[in-house]
């Protein structure tokens, strides 16, 4: 690519239930933090931030045009602001493309969601097509349970292997001050949590969480000028699978593989497990960390369970997955994909404290949206020299 795009700064809120915060308070917190951290301002002469790309959902905010809760604090007054109605990784993906397109040099990307203010299962129900699925009363958990049943039975993945994902990620979260639910767990404690929808138990699912985060991306020359620890966006890829559950092979994360292929192609990654120093992926349920590991080509199809048990994905392993604690430690939907990037950048800048993956130079960011991971977005990052 002629032009390179990189990340100048990141910021995030603590992830927790926030009954005391209005949506505007929530979305402004990381903006206020990132403006102070980077010293950048919203400008028109190219000396600062040129545009804003936000990420939120009308259903989750309970607002038509949910970005009306973002515009004021995030430089939307008499300036360009657009809202991506997808997982936060897509907002970063679109911002990176916009910088590569040359119309803007510097874009503020932000995402916010308050899951605690509404019963998200009823939103997920209308996230299913209306003619054949919606009237059955399904939500994303019961659909994920159909995927987990098929995947686990076909490849002999055990509930305890899924529980080990929860144990790993909630332990990793103990090194992450932003995480909502850091905890030392045992496989048995996970396996004894109440069943939501066979085989998914309460602790196999992401907790309800509120939060927001922000990232500033910019063209190469400005990244170098504004930070001494640049992180370069080298690979971008996303992909849609089909919607209706029956039209897909739920055990084959085909659209994730395609998205990863595009990102790896752009970034020149031929051996993901070897080339990537860490992965921050979006596991809304424990089985998904195993399935997405296969989709990302970190291990063979069906080997997700053994790959987890091998210890390779621990912070000390050769391919740490979710050193941040992942979504299972509490990150809200939409914010999830952008939070993956915030954590990956924090790792690549060596600022991850107790959860730091030593010497990390390359990282993979993954976001997903839709029922049973219908669409995926993969972004590969590399620390600047």
């Amino acid at each position: 690519m002629a032009r390179r795009v990189g990340i100048v700064g990141v910021a995030q809120t603590k992830y927790e239930k926030k009954p005391g915060m209005h949506l505007q308070d929530l979305s402004f917190e990381p903006v206020d933090k990132i403006l102070q951290d980077t010293g950048l301002k919203f400008t028109e002469d190219g000396t600062g931030i040129d545009a804003t790309i936000s990420c939120s959902q009308d259903h989750w905010d309970g607002w038509t045009i949910s970005s009306k809760n973002v515009v004021d604090g995030a430089g939307g007054h008499l300036r360009p602001e657009e809202k991506v109605a997808e997982d936060g990784a897509y907002a970063l993906y679109y911002a990176a493309l916009s910088v590569l397109g040359g119309h803007y040099d510097c874009i503020l990307v932000l995402a916010h969601t308050k899951e605690s203010q509404v019963d998200g299962r009823l939103i997920e129900n209308v996230g299913l097509e209306a003619l054949y699925s919606r009237m059955l009363g399904l939500d994303f958990t019961s659909c994920a349970a159909l995927q987990a049943t098929q995947y686990m039975q076909r490849y002999g993945i055990s509930p305890s292997q899924c529980a080990q994902v929860v144990v790993k990620n909630r332990a990793n979260a103990m090194g992450n001050p932003y995480a909502q639910a850091p905890e030392k767990l045992t496989v048995d404690s996970v396996l004894s949590s109440p069943m939501l929808s066979d085989p998914i138990r309460l602790m196999d699912a992401k907790p309800i969480s509120d939060g927001a985060c922000a990232v500033i991306v910019a063209a190469e020359d400005k990244v170098k000028k504004w930070t001494d620890r640049p992180v370069w966006i080298e690979g971008l890829g996303c992909c849609y699978d089909r919607h209706y559950l029956g039209y897909r092979d739920l055990t084959d994360p085909l659209s994730l593989t395609e998205a990863a292929k595009r990102a790896y192609g752009m970034a020149g990654i031929s051996d993901p497990r070897g080339d990537l120093d860490l992965v921050e992926l979006s596991e809304y349920y424990s089985y998904q960390e195993l399935l997405w590991s296969e989709g990302l080509g970190l291990c063979e199809r069906g080997d997700g369970g053994r790959f987890l048990e091998s210890g390779a994905t621990q912070i000390s392993g050769d391919t740490p997955i979710n050193p941040s604690g992942g979504l299972l430690s509490g990150v809200p939907v939409n914010v999830a994909g952008l939070n993956r990037a915030v954590e990956a950048v924090t790792q690549l800048r060596g600022e991850a404290g107790k959860r730091q993956v030593d010497g990390a130079r390359t990282a993979l960011v993954h976001g997903t949206g839709g029922v049973c991971g219908q669409m995926h977005c993969v972004i590969s990052l590399r620390r600047g020299l």
């Binding site: 009306k68 939307g76 997808e86 397109g101 998205a259």
Partner: protein, 388 residues
């Protein structure tokens, strides 16, 4: 410099109050097939798909995921944009950035809304703060009443001129088979239409429509091999507005500079447009009410302050006029909200191709401005040109 981007495929449905004959995925498919036919391409030639719509009108969460098959998005990269009334135009801008980035050669942009699914006003009102004005506010009529009121006081414009503007839009719409409302109107018909909030009458407001519009964008290499003459998107500009002053009545007591002026000044300056009325051949504004036409003609610097109604009185904005505005009949005739922003760009492009058929402007059309308006005075605008 980024890749140059052109429109090489245009497709839209016939926009109607209700489409009980098809579901929304089939409506989208209709527009996509027409755009592919227009560009003489197949879905395999499309590298990425950008789609937009306003969720709560049909009540679908992640509505893009449900139309993957009909929209041709399977195993393709793409995403959904939603910026309210400007969603369609923001989606075109998103497509533009995707192609300009050189990561994609082509992009399919789809705007759609199927407003026969729910009471539109009730969905629109949920754009208000629930703890402040949501349970009292009632749609956008108040904004345009304020606009019309102050414009008449400042410029000497009379009600008859806004009625004439509405008649011209109806005349244009009757020459556009895709338009929704195509009545045979006289100024008296408009003046007898029921008052919503004086001076805005029922006929002055846009309908709720079902419709979809698809555009195919391509980089320079692909555009030059395209079946039809490519229309270049030379430039684009977006300017939103802070929301806090637009609580409730969406009226700002001390109106600071408007988003239209800010966005158009920037775009004009970058492209050496010094006299818009001369440099731009045709305009597709996004005016949800004919009362907005006058202030916006002046804010877009087509004419000086207070002169817009005189241009309308002289009927200069007609299809045969020297400054044709909204030859498609505009949003006041057709408003499937999610598609309206895309339709503006599509109609402007048809004019520059000389393919607008019965509503093709008489003058030679080489340049066009297409705009979208939404939320409380958010604006997205494009500068289109027949030549590179």
């Amino acid at each position: 410099m980024s890749e140059r981007v052109a429109i090489i495929g245009i497709g839209q449905t016939d926009h109607r109050y209700i489409r009980s004959d098809i579901n929304h995925e089939e409506m989208i498919n209709e527009a996509v097939r027409k755009a592919l036919e227009d560009a003489d391409l197949t879905i395999r030639d499309i590298d990425t798909v950008i789609i937009d719509n306003m969720d709560l009108f049909e009540g679908h969460y992640l509505s893009d995921t449900m139309v993957v098959d009909g929209a041709g998005m399977y195993l393709k990269p793409g995403l959904k944009i939603n910026t309210g009334g400007t969603s369609g135009a923001s989606a075109v801008a998103t497509g533009w950035h995707h192609v300009a980035s050189a990561v994609f050669d082509t992009a399919l942009v789809i705007g759609w809304q199927k407003q026969d699914a729910s009471p539109s006003i009730a969905a629109l009102v949920t754009a208000r703060e629930p703890l402040y004005d949501r349970d009292m506010a009632a749609g956008a009529v108040g904004i345009f009443a304020g606009m019309g009121l102050s414009y008449m006081m400042e410029s000497g414009c009379q009600e008859e001129h806004a009625a004439l503007a509405r008649v011209i839009m109806a005349d244009n719409a009757r020459r556009n088979p895709h338009a929704h409302l195509r009545p045979d109107l006289t100024v008296d018909d408009v003046l007898k239409s029921r008052v919503l909030v004086w001076p805005v009458r029922l006929l002055h407001m846009s309908p709720t429509s079902c419709g979809a519009c698809a555009l195919i964008l391509a980089n320079e290499k692909r555009a030059k091999k395209a079946a039809k003459h490519p229309v270049w998107i030379k430039d684009l500009e977006t300017a939103h507005r802070e929301q806090s002053v637009f609580r409730g009545g969406c009226v700002e007591p001390k109106p600071a500079i408007s988003a239209i002026e800010v966005a158009s000044f920037r775009l004009y300056k970058r492209n050496g447009i010094t006299k818009p009325a001369r440099d731009i051949d045709v305009w597709e504004f996004y005016t949800p009410s004919s009362w907005a036409l006058f202030p916006w003609m002046e804010l877009f610097s087509i004419c000086d302050k207070g002169q817009a109604w005189r241009l309308v009185e002289k009927e200069a904005i007609r299809i045969e006029g020297e400054i044709p505005i909204e030859p498609s009949g505009g949003v006041v005739s057709t408003n499937p909200i999610g598609a309206s922003g895309v339709i503006r760009v599509a109609e402007a492009a048809l004019q520059l191709r000389g393919e607008a058929g019965d509503h093709q402007v008489s003058k030679k059309a080489e340049t066009a401005i297409a705009t979208a308006w939404g939320a409380a005075s958010w604006i997205v605008m494009f500068y289109l040109s027949k030549n590179l």
